[in-house]
């Protein structure tokens, strides 16, 4: 019971712990991703704002540059109309170029051909440009459309040029002095710096999220801005995202989880113009706090669970199980037969009631047992009376004296003796010991006694061994219980003193001569009666002289035990019979003396077997 309770308790506590852990884990996970989302969102807003600011700044710078160039090119057109010499004279034009601070000045005629040029000597030779047809080059072709138009002004965006791909900007306006175009060119390397400052790649390092998180700025498939140098410039496919996710990232906004270069990331995505912003955080960073809370929770809950388990277990042990154990111990003693045992467990009202119930039941049981015992005793007493009434009465016959006594260890014994006159000159006498005791032995005994008597009486001429042979076969029939009886039977011819006898497994009798000498009667040890059929017995004989006697007894005498469990024994018996006490004892005192000696030997030890004895005194 204790084990199963503890198991039950353990399972409940463990389940409660698991539920608590799961709930906390779930809430903490939700909280972790929620706060990560909020943090990423905040940084994405920052990024969007920063991108917008940068774009505006760059646009402002470019606008200023463009306006300035438009103004300058219109100024040059005006100067040419005032002083046409500048248009035709290379030196004058070079002077003007230096004053204006441009790298190139080209004068284009109505045929779109350069007719005069001034170029910073560092960049090249002006003469090489003379005769260049603007129509033949994609960059210069847009200016051709201004030829013949009034108020034409075109400022091109800065474009990379030449081997070093430096930014170069051209601007043009319609000539006022003649049909054609005047064109200015300038290297705008300062703009390069401004554009670089505006680059998304330089923006990203400032947009970290937490420790390992960042904003990835994506244009199309390509990561154009990232805090991590190793990501910048790579495509989304190359860092490990699958196509389905990539197409999702390019539409609207939301959250996603993905592996980037083998590390789990959690992130948000949002569109910003032609850019896609991905705010990502390593999942382990998102869940780090949750995990540390979970570990703390597991440790503290385990300790708590152990405390709860041990204290409840102990409490139940003390309150319930100890009480039940004590009751069980009492019940054990009761079922072992100690009906006086009282159950005294009363630590609680329930136990008190249980104890009271058990005690009442045991009391009732005791009453029933006592009643049954009384009934059985009266039956046994009745059986005893029947048994005693079956024993023969002492004969008053001048030819012999018989003394007999029987003391049963239980109310009904398995011993018996018998003697009867067979005919006018023969006396039969016997003693027997049935295996077992109680009612079954008594019933077996009554049957054996009747069989012996009737067979001997009905066959006075038959040899005694043959009579016993018949008796044995008759008793063996239907003796399934394997009971048997040891018998010594003798038939004494009262005229001659010749005694025929058969011993069927019984103790050898003692013959006591008239002069007091006592000795064992020699006996052939035949098999017990009832044990097995068709067993042969042997008849023997001895002649008694007047005054001689025969002592028959059962093993209750020789196997009487003292407190040290020693047996009375044959030796003590023959010594007593042959000793001075018996020699001087009158025949009617022999059995009394023998009984006293056995009692003295037993020294108060309880009698374990029936003690039966018979003394036949032949008078002649």
């Amino acid at each position: 019971m204790r084990r199963s309770f503890q198991l039950w308790l353990f399972v409940s506590v463990a389940l409660a712990f698991a539920a608590l852990f799961y709930l906390t884990y779930y809430l903490q996970t939700k909280e972790a991703f929620g706060s990560a989302e909020a943090m990423i969102e905040l940084r994405m807003d920052d990024a969007k704002k920063q991108i917008a600011i940068n774009e505006n700044n760059l646009k402002a710078v470019l606008d200023i540059c463009n306006a300035s160039m438009a103004n300058d090119v219109k100024t040059v057109a005006y100067i040419l109309s005032c002083a046409p010499a500048f248009a035709t004279n290379a030196y004058k034009l070079e002077e003007l170029r230096r004053v204006m601070g441009y790298d190139e000045v080209h004068i284009i005629n109505r045929h779109a051909l350069i007719e005069n040029s001034a170029i910073d000597p560092v960049l090249g030779n002006a003469e090489n440009y003379i005769g260049f047809n603007l129509k033949l080059h994609a960059q210069s072709e847009p200016f051709v459309h201004g030829i013949g138009k009034q108020d034409f002004v075109l400022v091109q965006p800065p474009l990379p040029r030449g081997m070093d791909r430096k930014l170069f900007q051209y601007g043009g306006a319609s000539r006022l002095d003649d049909e054609g175009i005047v064109q200015l060119g300038i290297s705008v390397s300062f703009l390069e710096k401004a554009m670089e400052n505006n680059s998304l790649a330089t923006l990203s390092p400032g947009l970290r999220i937490g420790v390992g998180g960042e904003i990835l700025i994506v244009r199309g498939e390509k990561i154009v801005g990232a805090a991590r140098v190793d990501l910048e410039g790579r495509t989304l496919t190359s860092v490990g995202l699958d196509p389905e996710l990539i197409s999702k990232l390019h539409q609207g906004e939301g959250s996603f989880s993905a592996e980037i270069d083998g590390v789990d990331f959690f992130g948000l995505y949002v569109q910003s113009g032609d850019l896609t912003l991905l705010g990502v955080m390593p999942t382990y960073e998102v869940t780090r706090k949750r995990n540390s809370i979970a570990i703390q929770l597991v440790i503290s809950a385990l300790v708590l669970m152990l405390v709860v388990f041990l204290s409840v277990s102990k409490l139940v042990q003390v309150i319930v199980i100890d009480g039940i154990d004590r009751i069980n111990a009492s019940l054990g003693r009761i079922t072992a037969g100690h009906l006086d045992e009282k159950v005294t467990e009363n630590r609680s009202k329930e136990f008190e009631e249980l104890s009271g119930g058990i005690n009442t039941t045991v009391e009732a049981l005791k009453g029933a047992i006592a009643a049954e015992k009384t009934r059985l005793n009266s039956e046994l007493e009745f059986a005893r009376a029947v048994q005693i009434s079956a024993l023969p009465q002492i004969h008053d016959d001048p030819r012999f004296e018989i003394f007999a006594s029987m003391e049963a260890a239980k109310e009904v014994g398995g011993d018996f003796y018998d003697f009867f006159i067979v005919d006018e000159s023969h006396l039969a006498f016997l003693i027997a010991d049935v295996s077992g005791k109680g009612i079954p032995a008594a019933m077996f005994m009554m049957n054996a006694k009747a069989q012996l008597k009737s067979n001997i009486l009905n066959n006075p001429q038959k040899p005694l061994d043959e009579v016993i042979y018949e008796v044995n076969n008759s008793i063996c029939e239907g003796n399934d219980a394997c009971m048997f009886v040891t018998v010594f039977v003798g038939v004494l011819d009262l005229r001659s003193g010749l005694m025929n006898y058969v011993n069927a497994g019984h103790n050898a009798p003692i013959i006591r001569r008239a002069n007091g000498d006592a000795s064992w009667l020699p006996v052939e040890n035949g098999f017990v009666i009832g044990g097995m059929d068709s067993v042969d017995y042997i008849q023997e004989s001895v002649t008694l002289s007047p005054g001689d006697g025969i002592l028959l007894y059962t093993d209750g005498v020789t196997e009487a035990m003292n407190r040290q469990l020693a047996l009375y024994g044959d030796d003590r018996l023959i010594s007593l019979m042959d000793g001075p006490i018996m020699r001087s004892a009158p025949t009617d005192c022999i059995l009394g003396e023998l009984k006293s000696d056995v009692s003295a030997f037993a020294d108060g030890a309880p009698q374990s077997d029936d003690i039966t004895m018979l003394f036949l005194h032949y008078l002649g």
């Binding site: 398995g414 010991d433 049935v434 295996s435 077992g436 005791k437 394997c482 009971m483 048997f484 040891t486 069927a504 497994g505 019984h506 103790n507 050898a508 040890n525 035949g526 098999f527 017990v528 044990g531 097995m532 067993v535 093993d555 196997e559 047996l567 077997d609």
Partner: protein
């Protein structure tokens, strides 16, 4: 009385110690019943038996009849003088096999 099965069925050997009396004999008989049911032959080693009452004799008789009926053998081994005297007196020596 204590006993020990020193050889399992079918050639069962049981070694008995102590007294075979009214109390112990039925106990031995009922406790040995499962082993005896499987046994072809039985040897009862009574070297340690110093007393045999009529209940003990009855047990021997039951065993003898049983093994004889089943066509097996039942033998006693190590009979002590006191027990031998009882067996002799009751004629049991005539029907029992002794090793």
């Amino acid at each position: 009385m204590t006993y020990e099965i020193t050889s399992p069925p079918p050639d069962l050997t049981v070694t008995v110690q102590g007294r075979l009396d009214t109390l112990t004999s039925p106990k031995l008989e009922s406790e040995l019943e499962p082993s005896i049911a499987q046994a072809k032959n039985l040897v009862l080693d009574v070297t340690g038996v110093d007393y045999l009452s009529s209940a003990g004799l009855r047990l021997l008789l039951t065993l003898q009849k049983r093994f004889k009926r089943e066509g097996g053998s039942f033998k006693l081994r190590g009979i002590q003088p006191g027990v031998m005297e009882i067996l002799r007196m009751t004629g049991f020596l005539k029907i029992l096999s002794v090793e």
